[in-house]
């Protein structure tokens, strides 16, 4: 095989591989990407049931109900609106009322947020960056910057 032929083959293989990879990426992007929303966003903008959402805020005081079974419900608030979240599984170690939390899942038509992942802070000073930003927009939290940034995936269904 000539050098030219070799180069041509190599480039065409590389390009087709890139095309396949691009296809895979676009396909995967369709439904495995979650948009970050605050509770206020969820009230103001309608969201499709099939859109994966990353909901962040504070765990509203006095809203955590540990059912008799394994499902826990709690309110997530940005002090403006409250969304009720239901989650089946084990909450992260540092999940507490009044603290920042990020949950991922889908919004059911009845307004209940069904989370499959709950992330909480990982140390005393932690405020998830996205939550801090959203709360700052609401004028609630005046902390500086992002706080420390360690999120702890709770149990999730990977």
């Amino acid at each position: 095989m000539t050098r030219k032929g070799q180069r041509f083959l190599l480039i065409s293989v590389a390009l087709s591989l890139l095309a396949v990879a691009t296809g895979l990426v676009l396909f995967a992007m369709r439904d495995s990407i979650a948009f970050f929303s605050s509770p206020t966003d969820l009230y103001s903008e309608p969201v499709s049931e099939s859109q994966r959402i990353r909901l962040g805020g504070l765990v509203a005081e006095g809203t955590v109900i540990r059912g008799v079974g394994d499902t826990v419900t709690f309110g997530v608030t940005d002090t403006n609106a409250v969304i009720t979240v239901s989650y089946t599984g084990i909450l992260p170690d540092l999940f507490r009322e009044g603290q920042g939390v990020v949950t991922e899942g889908y919004l059911a038509p009845d307004g209940l947020f069904e989370a499959d992942t709950v992330l909480a802070r990982h140390d005393e000073n932690y405020m998830p960056a996205e939550v801090a930003e959203s709360l700052r927009q609401q004028g609630v939290w005046q902390g500086d910057g992002d706080g420390a940034s360690t999120a702890q995936p709770g149990s999730s269904d990977y």
């Binding site: 095989m1 000539t2 050098r3 070799q6 083959l9 190599l10 293989v13 590389a14 591989l17 890139l18 396949v20 990879a21 895979l24 990426v25 396909f27 995967a28 992007m29 439904d31 495995s32 990407i33 979650a34 948009f35 970050f36 990353r54 540990r66 059912g67 008799v68 079974g69 394994d70 089946t88 599984g89 084990i90 909450l91 170690d93 540092l94 991922e104 990982h122 140390d123 005393e124 000073n125 998830p128 960056a129 996205e130 930003e133 910057g145 992002d146 420390a148 940034s149 360690t150 999120a151 702890q152 995936p153 709770g154 149990s155 999730s156 990977y158």
Partner: protein, 665 residues
């Protein structure tokens, strides 16, 4: 006093690094042997200074010197001694100090073992290495000084993040850093070669052992990290596609590609430009990883408290080295001549396929990791890219790589024959197809993805063994001859076989745990029994316990299989009062290669306990596989040809069989 000494020698190391970044480089340009030799001296002394500096910080931790801010923030006098020492790098400043210590170690390694390098190349490599060291020492001294004092020393420290109080911290970061930083050598060699404008097969022979060593450490570091996350965090997973995991995984993929392309360059003088580019990319990805972890732009378990100034500084280092590296590459690459033409079906061709697939999959991981950052920067939308993205993109790209993997080593250089190659592994292929059929018969045709995945794992494992067996003619010649040939196989061939076999073992583990895991989330009360995958877990109740620096509530479980007790597990929920920090300690029992895993959750209002119970089939194979891969790398490193400092061996003896029968070495 010792703390000040540590700070002082750190500054001295910076001065030496500055000297080293100029003089040997200048010596190489002006052919001054004296200037070039200075590099050996500065690299050695620099490493000495960095060791003293690191020892000083360790001393401060060991004696719990709470007048040092770093110790106050990350230690506690009641912490067990092991964690006092490992706590040195369990924080931002200390871990950066470890980073440069290892950088210094590798620089000194070049000075000590690089005796057979051409003098100018060695001088240039040492200078480039010093550029990196200068940048990181400036970073530490200006933004992350671990020796900073506090004016009024508190009586007690704030303790180390309890999640880090584990033997894993003693092993995972040092290994990972040895790998990350080890790639700086490949980078320095690449830049030095571009500066000199000379690149030949000998260059690849020098670079390969260093890259291989870095690769072995990186492999061990990543797999230790995965194992640590699995048992310590109590989430039951072994890989989360967390941005920081990706940050270590991308350099690994690039280093794996580099190892393979360097073989082609060494043997056939082909793929030169590509190999140099890969060396630059691999280290760039390690720098990117450092940036992602240290700047706090990503939310992750690994990020320590962050500071925008530091992020900016590392970003500058990143731009300087990546930008500079690529710019130099763009200017010089056209001067490098490629050798060796080869047919598409050949050993070179197979290694090109390996490189293409590894590079493209690195690109998809990079995209998934950076896309949220880029999107937020441009549109303000905040998104997260989760594991499904990576499983859907990375997974399919690995399948052809794994299928091609056993065939590569069977193809001859220059022009191979697929039919001959297949002929040598037909039994492995047949066994894999039988495996496929068995799995389909057992689990039904709906389970075809699982069946294909298991068959691929079997194919990789058996195919890896088929190569040396074919080479020694295991089935067609007397046993004595076979054994003799087996003993005479070069260690690099054993290394390849082991590493490839390890890949198969790891894949089998991944498939086993991903496809056949059983999980129950349930609430238990004392006396309750829960059945998971045929194992009966009986909850015996909870009892309190006090550890050295924590209190815990232990949940007792008895595990029975068919009525007989096989294990008593005691997972617990701990609280570390120094930080008021709770952690979960999962409970395990290993059955063969599989594991039973209990992660206790919160007590419920009515006296129960929420627990997650898992049966994880073959999960330990994931880490056993990576260990075998690393072992393969080590064995290959011991090959005479690659041994650092070993004289170059004369041309290999031609195989004693007719050409075309035996794959060329």
């Amino acid at each position: 006093m010792i703390v000040e000494l540590g700070h002082y020698v750190l500054v001295l190391a910076l001065v030496l690094a500055v000297v080293q970044s100029v003089l040997p480089f200048w010596g190489a340009r002006t052919a001054e042997a004296g200037l070039m030799r200075i590099g050996d001296f500065t690299a050695t002394v620099q490493f000495g200074f960095l060791s003293i500096s690191f020892a000083a910080l360790t001393y401060a931790y060991v004696v719990s010197d709470f007048s040092v801010l770093n110790v106050v923030q990350n230690s506690h006098s009641e912490k067990p001694m092991l964690f006092k020492v490992t706590g040195v790098w369990g924080n931002h400043e200390g871990s950066m100090l470890l980073w440069v210590l290892i950088l210094g170690l590798f620089g000194a390694g070049i000075a000590w073992f690089g005796g057979n390098l051409p003098r100018t190349l060695k001088a240039n490599v040492l200078s480039v290495q010093a550029w990196v060291t200068v940048a990181f020492l400036l970073f530490i001294i200006l933004t992350s000084n671990p020796f900073e004092r506090v004016l009024s020393a508190p009586a007690e420290g704030e303790d180390l993040n309890p999640i880090l109080q584990d033997i894993g911290l003693a092993i995972h970061p040092p290994l990972l850093y040895l790998g990350y930083v080890g790639l700086s050598i490949s980078f320095s060699f690449a830049i030095a070669a571009l500066i000199e404008g000379r690149l030949d097969a000998a260059w690849a022979r020098w670079v390969r052992p260093w890259t291989l060593a870095a690769w072995v450490f990186l492999t061990l570091g990543i797999s230790m990290g995965s194992f640590w996350a699995y048992y310590e965090l109590g989430w039951g997973g072994w890989w989360f596609w967390d941005p920081v995991e990706n940050a270590s995984f991308m350099p690994w993929l690039a280093a794996t590609a580099l190892l393979h392309s360097a073989i082609v360059m060494e043997k056939r003088e082909a793929l030169k430009i590509w190999t140099v580019l890969l060396a630059i990319i691999a280290f760039s990805l390690s720098l990117l990883g450092t940036f992602l972890v240290r700047s706090g732009v990503l939310t992750s378990v690994h990020a320590f408290a962050t500071d925008p100034e530091r992020g900016l500084f590392i970003l500058l280092i990143l731009l300087l080295f990546i930008g500079g590296g690529f710019a130099l590459f763009a200017i010089r690459a056209s001067e490098l001549r490629n050798g060796g033409v080869f047919a598409p079906v050949s050993r070179e061709g197979a290694l090109v396929v390996n490189n293409l697939l590894l590079s493209v999959s690195t690109a998809t991981v990079l995209l998934g990791t950076l896309y949220p950052l880029i999107l937020e920067a441009f549109t303000g939308d905040k998104i997260s890219v989760g594991p499904p993205f990576f499983n859907l993109t990375f997974g399919p790209l690995m399948i052809p790589l794994l299928i091609a993997l056993p065939l590569g080593p069977l193809l001859a250089w220059k022009r191979g024959d697929l039919v001959t190659a297949l002929h040598r592994v037909w039994w492995a292929a047949a066994a894999s197809i039988v495996t496929l059929a068995c799995v389909l018969a057992l689990f039904g045709t709906d389970a075809w993805i699982k069946a294909v995945a298991i068959a691929v794992a079997a194919w990789v494992m058996l195919g890896a063994i088929a190569e040396p067996l074919a080479r020694v003619k295991a089935f067609s010649s007397p046993i004595g001859d076979t054994a003799r040939r087996l003993i005479n196989l070069p260690r690099s061939a054993w290394g390849t076989t082991l590493a490839h076999f390890g890949v198969g073992v790891m894949v089998l583990g991944i498939v086993g745990v991903s496809a056949f895991e059983s999980e129950r989330i349930t609430t238990v009360r004392p006396g309750d029994t829960v059945d998971v995958a045929g194992y009966e877990f009986t909850f015996e109740g909870m009892r309190p316990n006090t550890g050295p620096n924590y209190q815990e509530i232990i949940a007792g479980f008895t595990v029975r299989e068919g009525g007989t007790v096989i294990a008593n597990l005691e997972p617990s929920r701990r609280i570390y009062p120094a930080r008021n920090f709770p952690t979960t300690e999962a409970g395990f029992h290993t059955v063969g290669f599989s594991q039973l895993y209990i992660s206790p959750g919160d007590p419920t209002d009515d006296g129960g306990l929420v627990v997650r119970l898992y049966h994880k089939p073959l999960v330990t194979l994931i880490w056993i596989g990576t260990l075998i891969m690393s072992l393969g790398g080590l064995v290959s490193l011991m090959d005479r040809r690659l041994r650092i400092g070993a004289p170059q061996r004369a041309k290999r003896k031609a195989p004693a069989v007719p050409p075309g029968m035996e794959p060329a070495e």
